[in-house]
Symmetry: C2
């Protein structure tokens, strides 16, 4: 039954270097890979290992885009939760049939992964990403 696992937990930050000082230097988490720029989404990101999952730190690089708007409205903090499922299409169909609202009816694909977001109003206020390893 338990075919759902944590993939990553995303945190919006306004200063990636300061955030890394806290999570990496002071708290002792290990950074996984280098900083990455994602120009298509106007963000820089960094990953920290958390068991076999990750904490993703996201810093908007412009005032455009959803993450920048989130930061402006709510301030830095926990942003979204990404869970890995075995069969993304089946899970999305199930959720949709049960009346839950999906942000992405059709999964998006990038860098060999397929993912879709569930609307926070259908997930108890949590922006939930579902992810399938390809």
């Amino acid at each position: 039954m338990q075919n759902v696992k944590l993939n990553h937990l995303a945190i919006v930050v306004d200063d990636l270097e300061a955030a890394l000082r806290f999570w990496r230097e002071s708290l002792g988490l290990v950074q996984a890979g280098p900083l990455q720029s994602v120009p298509a989404e106007n963000v820089d990101i960094a990953f920290l290992a958390l068991g076999d999952a990750h904490i993703e730190l996201i810093q908007p690089t412009t005032s455009a885009g959803g993450v920048a708007k989130y930061l402006a409205k709510r301030g830095p903090g926990l942003h979204h939760l990404c869970l890995e499922v075995a069969d993304l299409d089946a899970k999305l169909n199930e959720l949709s049939s049960a009346g839950y609202e999906l942000i992405n009816e059709t999964p998006r694909e990038r860098d060999g992964r397929r993912y879709a977001f569930i609307h926070p109003k259908s997930a108890g206020g949590v922006l939930l990403e579902l992810y399938e390893r390809m």
Copy 2:
């Protein structure tokens, strides 16, 4: 080096039964133990297994207390992150010495666990709980 692991991720909900329908029935997470009332904190809680960590669903039962205030102000959603550390006192001393603000200078103890919260303004907007298994 990697001596930090996820213990739980807490989500504030306004309806524990509806939240369980989503996370357990629709998403397929497995509930860990029965619902628990924590009258001292005016909340009911339920845990869902997430690998060897948990998602904690928290519903305020009165309008008193920090969780109820959080829910009234920010709405339901991701609330706090709890990481397990090997030596809580050492970690708190380190963080305090580095200038980070602790909510609990002295760890609290309950049900055989010791824990302390770090102030969100010192953890990039994240309400962070550090936990030590006793």
